[in-house]
Symmetry: C3
Subunit: 150 residues, 3 copies
């Protein structure tokens, strides 16, 4: 991953960083509000989603959508609100013109009639490609800090 | 709300997004440090502030300032520090040239001689207008996740 | 500290704000991953680091590096992951061409086989100078909210 810090003064790098901030605001809000199709549209057709919370990766947008729909339904049934608070965005260049974005996320969980609590913390590394002008995630790797990394 | 994501590569959109980040940094710090006048100056004269924590909206900058002064005094009396950690900024265009900004906020509370804790989580939607070059909030809607939405 | 908000529409200010966001993403990740040399390289040779968690300031990059190495080793020995979630960035101009950046940080701590918890909250004010094109911290003042300010 080539650091872009050295060229942060260039307009292109600045605009890309902000585009990704706007992306994550929209992306996480879509997930948190249960708008699964909006959220899933941010992945490429052949995207792979890996996390140390599951033994196997989800491969393909359809599989990612299925997983997200199950999770969203469970939250609705439990009457739980869940929010992803993203920070520490670091943007770099990956191979073949891809963009690599690393983030932190605090997940805040609020049960019906209960107080909001920190449910978990995770780090995330996304590899983006641009499709028809729009950034889409081709590969996502999430690590929850409270679970073994491997 | 028209998404600005498609035009995130334009300098104007990039600059507006960053201007709002700087705005929220200053705005929340003013509130958290008890500088009520600084904080209140970020609202238009006729601003309306609604939250699901109060049955009625606060209407007009003077009413918003009164409410903020009471809250600030209470924190000082209790010896409590309170911080608004804003994330998930999403910026869009509203009607009539307004700007709509959606954010998340974690409120961190630290009592005198005590540990810092997450007090609550809320979402916020602000409608901005520009007055003499400066963005001001004309309408704010806050929802605490731990209280009923309506 | 001169507010930069009024000129947020200028490319230079926008680019500087984003450069600092990228800086903090990289800087905090370096610390959180125990890459002490990477983290320490963000300070000037003569940097001063003050915090209300220590009676005396650390003076000079070498002293800062020593302190960071001790802290990093302790976390590894204890099997603890620690993350700095930065928010509320506010950028201004200091005297003599310096840049002043104010931030909030939530520290999230995850012990081996345990849940992630908010360990502490602090505010930070950094004074930056540019050396060979790169922003470096010349003075850092941190205040933990759970400790007396003076």
């Amino acid at each position: 991953m080539t650091a872009v810090e050295g060229s942060a003064g260039h307009i292109d790098t600045t605009a890309l960083y902000v585009e990704l901030q706007q992306f994550y605001g929209r992306h996480m809000r879509a997930m948190d509000e249960g708008r699964v199709a909006d959220w899933t549209g941010d992945f490429t057709e052949d995207a792979v989603f890996r996390t140390n919370a599951r033994p196997d990766p989800q491969t393909g947008r359809a599989a990612i959508a299925d997983g997200a729909a199950v999770a969203a339904r469970k939250l609705v049934e439990q009457g739980v609100l869940r929010r992803h608070c993203v920070s520490a965005l670091e943007v770099g260049a990956g191979p073949d013109g891809t963009v690599v974005a690393r983030t932190y996320a605090q997940l805040i969980r609020t049960p019906r009639d209960g107080a909001s609590v920190l449910e978990l913390f995770c780090t995330c590394e996304d590899v983006f490609v641009r499709e028809e002008g729009r950034l889409r995630i081709r590969h996502r790797q999430v690590y929850r800090d409270d679970l073994p990394k491997d």
